[in-house]
Symmetry: C2
Subunit: 189 residues, 2 copies
DNA sequence: GCATTTACCTAGGACCATTAGGCAAATACC
DNA sequence: GGTATTTGCCTAATGGTCCTAGGTAAATGC
């Protein structure tokens, strides 16, 4: 019998595509096997279990996001960098909603965070070099930026902003203005 | 055969408690039936399907949160109100992680948002009365606050902040300082 | 006290996750 | 190139979840 040539990476890749098309929660070992014309049980040669699949998709998404953000950040500083950074995340989430969802929910706590987590916080810190913040305020600001972007993207994609005026593009741009102003004028304790 | 006296509200309540104890994703029609000593199929007299259960738990959580926030907000204004508002959400999420997760992910888009959604955004607007913002900046600020709080709570509970110094209490307090400063000094376009 | 409603049951189908054990294709080694 | 090993995929089977259809007994209405 001919072999399908599967391996963990191809499965994660296919799972990521499936997540974007039909939703991360619909990505199942059975569905993936079906797509490759193979029996469910066969995938367990490559995956520990279904959580392993989810974790791999999450890691793939985190790495892709980090790559995009790094590219967007190159050669920029200050507000320019802030916008590029924020837009990179937001655009990724819109283009790849399933992957983005995977990155949020698909983690066995440490494994996923350990991989690309430091890259993300490192890049957030890089942005802050354009502003005049020293520790521990820098850490506070890193956490604030992470919260705003993650929160905004998640609320926006959940439709929380779509039932009222003005449009979300305008808000997004004004939120970036506000964050820039805040970072330039970070309050003393 | 004796009847168990079930109804949709009791099921949602029990589901909410179960969510806090073992995680929202573990709340299943089967598990709930087991807890009441009843067959799975019996619950379908009270629930349309399993999504219906999740939606009801989400609505219960949203309503409880709105009640708490309303109580916390009573008689406060300005930064005092901002802190009370933010802490009410954060404390709720910590005390009821399963319910909080339900409120985020347990929505068929419109149904859940339609119910308590307006109450939440109304209260966010109430906070801003202590600051000098007019439309459309008020809406932008409502969305920013929602994003920060939701994002912070979700990252914090996911452990994103727990692997570095300083502690998250300090950051939380400094983030509230920063938001207060930002709202008092909202940048013009 | 009877008719109606309704809360629960049994039975069963569809899908998913996972394990055990087998066989044939690929690969490694001489 | 032939043999030994590994490994990719199989069948078979178990058990969990969701959900529908159709029945029966308890509660309720009159």
């Amino acid at each position: 019998m001919a072999r399908a040539g599967l391996n963990a990476e191809r499965l994660a890749q296919a799972g990521a595509e499936m997540a974007d098309e039909v939703g991360f929660d619909k990505v199942t070992v059975a569905a993936l096997a079906r797509q490759f014309g193979v029996k469910d049980a066969s995938l367990y040669s490559h995956l520990k279990n279904s959580q392993d699949l989810r974790t791999r998709i999450a890691q793939l998404a985190l790495a892709e996001m980090a790559d995009r953000v790094a590219a967007a950040l190159a050669g920029r500083a200050g507000k320019d960098a802030l916008e590029a950074f924020a837009n990179a995340y937001r655009d990724y989430a819109r283009e790849h909603p399933g992957r983005y969802a995977a990155a949020q929910t698909g983690l066995d706590p440490e494994a996923a965070a350990a991989s690309a987590g430091p890259r993300h916080s490192g890049m957030t810190r890089a942005i802050l070099r354009g502003y005049d913040l020293t520790e521990p305020d820098q850490t506070h600001a890193v956490r604030l930026l992470g919260s705003v972007f993650h929160g905004y993207i998640s609320l926006e994609s959940g439709g929380s902003f779509s039932h009222s005026e003005p449009g979300t593009e305008e808000t997004w741009s004004r939120v970036l203005d506000a964050l820039d102003a805040l970072l330039r004028n970070w309050p003393a304790p």
